[in-house]
């Protein structure tokens, strides 16, 4: 990975820790296991903790568990070679033991690619349900486990009512439990239930994070989300095509904020509580397209869907994060415009890297 890209990550980590280092102090000297460790969240957590070790002598250890461990050295070679980062090549559904030095766990193993949810719902469901069960069973026997953060999903709420500006953690909705298109959401709901059972029966300190959407370095652009398409269209000179309803509302959090918030939730969250994780400031698809266009060296045209008058579905997915903000003192340092700008910069640097 070239120095330019490393520099960007380094700056992001510096920015997010500069004023809030004490929040992360309980991490010093601890051993953190991250399942799904070579994914988007795992990679960013590894970057942040590596930064803390190098800059502030945190002396923390990271274990990244993944069934794709071999791919990490290609994805983040500078992390793969580090002595404070170890890879565990294992299927999450088949955990029979965890190294006894592990004192913190972030369980991020899942398959957030919605194409897989459609094509292989059984595997998606099993990775989440059997995987969480297998992990919790082993985690409950750890002698030094202090805290466990379960990564759930903002999708567990079911569809967000259009008149609700932001979803709060107390919102009681839900997906349709008999439809295969609810696979990911329902499996995550079950995983949350299993975690609260372990908290109840085994007195484990388990906190839940419900992530929404993110945009930034290490995010693969091949997932067919609107923002990825806009960025791809922008990088290839446009036009940026908006398909579907321009007024559909989304929000995007930048991953350095995400990584910091995750660690804060892990270290300071109240066991038994769920915290939304995302950007509370919603933007429409139309606005996102504009933001992406603004970041292109030559501003491309923005065009709308071919069939404008078809029945289009508006939807919203925006979290209320006041619980995390008020009770954990968390702040959003990178706003949407800046997130888009940095993402475009990263992707352009990647392209020129080839």
């Amino acid at each position: 990975m070239n120095a330019n890209l490393l520099e960007m990550i380094h700056r992001d980590c510096h920015e997010v820790t500069a004023a809030s280092l004490p929040t992360l102090a309980p991490l010093k000297g601890e051993c953190l296991l991250i399942t799904g460790g070579t994914g988007f969240m795992g990679t960013w957590l590894a970057e942040l903790i590596a930064f803390l070790n190098d800059t502030y002598n945190f002396n923390s250890k990271i274990l990244l568990l993944s069934d794709r461990a071999y791919s990490f050295s290609a994805k983040a070679p500078h992390l793969a070679v580090r002595k404070d980062i170890s890879l565990i090549d294992r299927d999450i559904c088949s955990i029979v033991g965890i190294p006894s030095e592990v004192s913190l766990i972030i369980h991020a193993a899942a398959t957030p690619d919605s194409r897989l949810h459609a094509s292989e719902p059984l595997r998606v469901a099993q990775v989440i349900t059997n995987g969480t069960a297998s992990l919790l069973a082993s985690a409950s026997r750890l002698p030094r486990l202090k805290r466990f953060l379960n990564i759930s999903s903002g999708l567990i709420y079911g569809p967000q009512p259009l008149d609700l500006e932001r979803i709060e953690e107390s919102f009681c909705g839900g997906p349709n439990c008999s439809s295969p298109s609810s696979t990911y959401a329902e499996a995550k709901r079950y995983a949350e239930l299993l975690c609260s059972i372990y908290r109840n029966e085994y007195k484990m300190e388990i906190i839940t994070a419900r992530p929404f959407a993110f945009i930034g370095p290490y995010q693969l652009l091949d997932r067919p989300w609107a923002i990825n398409n806009f960025i791809r269209d922008g990088l290839t000179g446009g036009p940026i095509r908006i398909l579907g309803d321009r007024e559909t509302l989304r929000s995007y959090m930048y991953p350095s904020d995400m990584a910091f918030w995750l660690l804060a939730m892990l270290l300071h969250g109240v066991p038994g509580f769920s915290y939304n994780l995302g950007n509370p400031n919603g933007v429409t698809l139309g606005q996102i397209a504009e933001k992406v266009a603004n970041c292109c060296p030559v501003r491309p045209e923005i065009s709308a869907n071919l069939a404008e008058n078809a029945k289009i579905h508006r939807s919203s997915l925006v979290p209320d994060v006041s619980l995390a903000q008020k009770t954990l003192g968390l702040k959003l340092l990178v706003d949407t415009d800046e997130a888009v700008r940095r993402t475009m910069l990263w992707n352009r640097a990647q392209v020129s890297n080839c």
Binding site: S119, G244, A307, N309, A310
Partner: protein
Amino acid sequence: MTRVVISDPTLRDGSHAIRHQLTTAQISSYCAAAEESGMPIVEVGHGNGIGASSLQLGESLLSDREMLQTARGKLLNSKLGIHIIPGFATIKRDLSMAIDCGVDVIRVGCHATEADITCRHISYARQRGREVYGVLMMSHMAAPDKLLEESRKMESYGAEAVILMDSAGAFLPNDVKQRISLLNEGLGISVGFHAHNNLGLAIANSIAAVESGASIIDGTARGFGAGAGNAQLEVLVAVFEKLNYSTGIDLYKVMDAAEYAEKEILEVIPFVKSTSIVSGLAGVFSGFAIHVNRVASQYGVDPRDIFFELGRRKVVAGQEDLIIEVATELAGEKDKG
């Protein structure tokens, strides 16, 4: 006024009727005429899509590349579209070549219950920044709810619309209404319809589709296509305009394009024959007609019997080899009887 996008596969679906023997001159002139008429999308290629030229499905006169390059040269405002079926065509050999030739719209088709085979092709086309639609073929062979589930898969892969194909011309208007409405309600993307005329209902079905929320409709010049043919393009344009939908197409000029096609491309203007009715009732892919007729005469069996047997076996497009097997069996029974 609500807009309906008409997509013209005269030079693709029509190809079945002339054993895929389209010439450069025909493609060139028809595309020029379609461009002139303001046709939104012009679809070009072998009847079963790019990469399908084969002994099984019929060898085309021109290579895919030649057809696409010829068409691209004549289409400026009109978009150039292709049909592609995974299992026949690959990304490396066929789809990337087509995109390099300047294709704008890629329609990835599969049997109505097997949408997951379209994931990679749809993803690839989206990554290359093209417009991508999913196409569910033989859609009469799946229950409406199943069609919605499969459409959702295509939506998740990045398809920008799902087109229901009535490949056998088996639907009645109410069947179309039910399915299109369901898809329209359940999807966040556009819905389209491709009619066949086996039971004389192509236009009526297309109207039912639009009135249920479809925004993309396929039609060919003079209904050019295998067997009983497709929804007649010029008629569609006229009827939609009369129903107060805007197509953006010049009526006189699309009629001129159809005149050209009738004179220079079509061998026969499609009409509903006995075998058309039978294949529509049996639910067999219209593109089989030419093969069935040929094999029937070779083996001395009634083509209608072949169709009903193929329907009973639920054959899908690409299984033309079964026609010989069925004919062999029927001939054997005839000899015994």
